[in-house]
């Protein structure tokens, strides 16, 4: 089984910890001039998202986690899983609710998502940085008010609620930044 020595630790490295795949966020080498060296690491459990701190004796080895991030296209939901397709191999994989997390509100068919696979199974997903959504409900637009000041809530076709400028109307398409949930611009068809 593949393993990493603490000397190879760096942020982004995927390791197994208590049976779960984890990603190293931070690694600090701590060593008294005379005495035992340690690696103090912050790791994120990729299944639960929980961040924990752990100390290793330097030189020890840890099992590597077979975790890869893959760009995949979202196809459909069958009531149990959300199916993504690899654009080259056309392989389809289903992600469960846990792997989708609270990203579902950004999910649109045919969008390219990052799917994190552990031993080939999706364990986490993340949406593209920007998505284009259609507004299904909002207060009537105020024509001519392009100041951008104020704003109002708008419900989108995916269920996401985004704060938009006053001039935006039902049926219009908008670009949204999924990292902060903020409106970016209107999109012309």
């Amino acid at each position: 089984m593949a393993s990493y020595s603490t000397n190879e630790f760096k942020s982004g490295l995927k390791i197994m910890m208590d049976g779960d795949p984890c990603s190293i966020i931070e690694n600090e080498f701590v060593k008294p001039g005379k005495g035992q060296a340690f690696n103090r690491v912050k790791i994120r459990n990729l299944k639960t998202g929980r961040v924990l701190e752990k100390t290793f004796k330097s030189g020890d080895s840890v099992e590597a986690a077979d975790v890869v991030d893959t760009e995949m296209q979202y196809l459909y939901n069958d009531g149990e899983a959300w199916y993504f397709m690899h654009p080259e191999s056309f392989e389809q994989l289903g992600a469960d609710e846990k792997a989708m997390g609270d990203n579902l509100k950004w999910l649109k068919e045919q969008d390219m998502w990052t799917v994190t696979l552990w031993n080939g199974v999706p364990i986490a997903t993340s949406p593209p940085n920007h998505v284009v959504l259609t507004i299904t409900d909002t207060d009537p637009g105020v024509r001519g008010d392009t100041s951008g000041g104020g704003g109002k809530p708008a419900t989108c076709d995916t269920g996401a609620v985004v704060r938009v400028p006053l001039f935006v109307d039902i049926g219009e398409m908008i670009k949204v930044d999924t990292r902060n949930g903020e409106y970016v611009s209107r999109v012309k068809e």
């Binding site: 000397n7 600090e28 001039g33 005495g35 035992q36 100390t55 004796k57």
Partner: protein, 324 residues
């Protein structure tokens, strides 16, 4: 090489000028005190047996045996002391396998000096005056603290390092929420874990903290003083949570030193590390080494304090490439 080629230095040019000035100030400090500047070989005939310090091996001729990049100039300087050099100092490059981090680089500069006739208390005072002189214009320092290892534990975590059993130390670590795996049942290792994780972060800021009289199991090359609870006449200096210097009232008993080397070799073996040849030249010199105290100070870390750097890379002209 990782990343594209880049000829630029790691440290800024102003930092390199500060480094040059500090080296000058160090010489100006020692010269009037009659401490002789010396140079000893970087290529050492023997490495170190210390189980927690790994030497880098090299060779100078295919007919000669292994040679090691020095991890410290200590052994060679003690041979000079034995030959009657009197008090000596040097600034030299030292090398430690596998040590890389925010405060570590596998090659770094050490200021090491020995004072004949000093004990560790007298040497601590000299270290204090040198460090204060070098940091004078850069850091406003509070009066220095001089605490025994036992006092500093009492002050910061209210635990007795000399009387606590291994089980008590382990219970404390668990209580502190420290998740550690793979540490052997060796009391020194657990003391060091608590020191680095619990004590160091609680030391006062902008204050030179001298910690002396270490647990005897962490004696290294220091004399052990027999009291009810024996302690090693060793000290460390910390400033802003960073270990800056380590000194000893030097052990000069060759038989005791040989025993410590052998105990370290046994430990190396248990840890699955390569056996290291014992430095017989040093053992031959020890009976002639006068009573003295010696200290090693990390020059790069001192420069970090001067410029307020967070990483050692900010004070080194060039650093090793990160492994891929």
């Amino acid at each position: 090489m990782s990343g594209p080629a880049n000829y630029r230095p790691s440290a800024g040019l102003v930092t390199l000028q500060i480094r040059a000035r500090i080296r000058k100030q160090i010489r100006a400090f020692f010269d009037p005190r009659g401490v002789l500047e010396v140079e000893t070989p970087v290529l050492a005939q023997a490495g170190v047996t210390d189980p927690h310090i790994d030497s880098m091996k090299s060779c100078w001729s295919k007919h000669a045996g292994d040679i090691y990049l020095q991890t410290s100039p200590e052994y060679a300087m003690k041979r000079l002391l034995a030959a009657g050099s009197g008090s000596i100092y040097q600034m030299s490059k030292v090398f430690r396998y596998g040590e890389r981090g925010r405060h570590h680089h596998p090659e770094f500069t050490m200021l090491e000096w020995y004072r004949v006739g000093f004990d560790h208390h007298q040497l601590m005072l000299e270290v204090d005056s040198l460090v204060r002189k070098l940091l004078l214009d850069h850091l406003t320092l509070n009066p220095s603290c001089f605490w025994t290892y036992r006092e500093v534990w009492k002050q910061t975590i209210d635990l007795d390092p000399l009387k606590s059993t291994l089980a008590q130390l382990q219970a404390f670590v668990e209580e502190q929420g420290i998740d550690i795996s793979g540490l052997e049942d060796d009391i020194a290792g657990w003391q060091q874990l608590i020191m680095t994780h619990c004590v160091e972060p609680r030391l006062p800021q902008d204050t030179p903290v001298f910690i002396y009289d270490f647990p005897a199991c962490q004696a290294a090359l220091a004399k052990i003083r027999d009291e009810d609870l024996p302690v090693a006449e060793r000290f460390e200096l910390y400033i802003n949570g960073m270990e800056l210097a380590n000194g000893f009232h030097e052990l000069t008993d060759a038989d005791e030193q040989r025993k410590r080397f052998q105990a370290e070799l046994l430990k190396r073996k248990a840890m699955g590390k390569p056996e290291m040849p014992v430095d017989e030249h040093l053992l031959a010199a020890l009976p002639f080494v006068p009573d003295c105290a010696g200290v090693a100070l990390g020059l790069d870390r001192l420069i970090m304090l001067v410029i307020g750097a967070q990483r050692i890379d900010e004070v080194l002209s060039f650093v090793v490439d990160e492994p891929r």
